[in-house]
Symmetry: C2
């Protein structure tokens, strides 16, 4: 609590690593991916530009943990949204709706996931976190389809469709966030009900 008062020599308190992550999140949220620089993050955290290098190998390393945080947060939200309904088809629809909502509410965090340009083969933890998102859809899809391969196709179709709707809202192609969520959910239901044709 009083860690801000005393400055032994260096200026920071116990957990600069976390403070940097938080500052980085703020920067990305405010200025987007392009505005994310270690220099800016350092300024926000109130430390010198050299300090981060004791906690992260380089700019990319910090960026990668941000992406991971975004995946975790998304998973948490989609999981919660899906838990509110019982029917498998409605779970998929709830996912689609929540997906669009996240994109709108946490735009930069959402874009980070796709635009960060990190090599996922070189960072298996990211690939895994991404796969975990789709994993949420497997159970309902399987309940709908029965067949494994068909279920997987349904998962991908629903997720892709949700993603498209999310991007279109952000681009201004789709009008209101509210309508966009409804339409994404409708599309998910349609795909689920016609899974045989996928």
């Amino acid at each position: 609590m009083d860690s801000e008062v005393k400055r032994p020599s260096g200026r920071h308190h116990g957990d600069l690593r976390r403070a940097l992550e938080a500052a980085a999140m703020d920067v990305v949220a405010e200025k987007g991916l392009a505005g994310f620089t270690l220099a800016e993050v350092s300024r926000r955290a109130g430390v010198s530009v050299a300090a981060p290098y004791k906690h992260f190998a380089d700019r990319e390393a910090l960026l990668a943990t941000l992406v991971l945080r975004s995946y975790e947060e998304q998973r948490r939200r989609y999981r919660a949204a899906m838990a509110r309904v019982a029917d498998p088809v409605e779970k998929l629809a709830a996912f689609a709706s929540a997906y669009v909502r996240f994109a709108v509410d946490e735009r930069s965090l959402f874009e980070l996931t796709f635009a960060a340009g990190l090599d996922k083969r070189a960072r298996p933890e990211l690939a895994e976190a991404g796969a975990a998102l789709l994993g949420l859809l497997e159970a309902p899809a399987h309940a709908i389809c029965g067949d494994d391969q068909r279920a997987h196709r349904l998962v991908l179709a629903v997720a892709a469709c949700a993603h498209g709707h999310a991007v279109f809202v952000l681009e201004g192609v789709l009008d209101g966030p509210r309508d966009a969520r409804r339409q994404a959910a409708s599309a998910a239901r349609v795909l689920a009900n016609a899974h045989v044709a996928l």
Copy 2:
């Protein structure tokens, strides 16, 4: 033809503007949006860094014309793909397939459209070009739906779904480009056939 030989004083021939656009396309194709700088483009075109400013107000102005070119090229391709089939539902499916194909074949040009971060309200010609793409889908959608509002919802759903599939291939979530195209087309057919539920 011999314009490269004589150098009156300045180094370039008749149409530096076009040469800059072409060079910029190459840069974006090779190094993506992040690699697009006026300095690099100038190097490619073989002129000094000051030269482009006689033809484009600034970096953004050149970028905007690239985005416009991307839209035009996309429109050309989708139009051609749709023209090859007669059935309205199949036209939508052909669009979805061509959309994914473009994303894969011309990745940087595709990403440019969405990631350039240009304000479309400030650049109406871009908004118009984007709308023209969706415009390709209006006629088939109307043939399927009859009702205007429903047709528009179908257009958006098909386009969003195609976009999602395109992004997922680029991300490596969907496996092969070939399967991805097929699945995008299938999803489009499903949405079209169930337009009543959208």
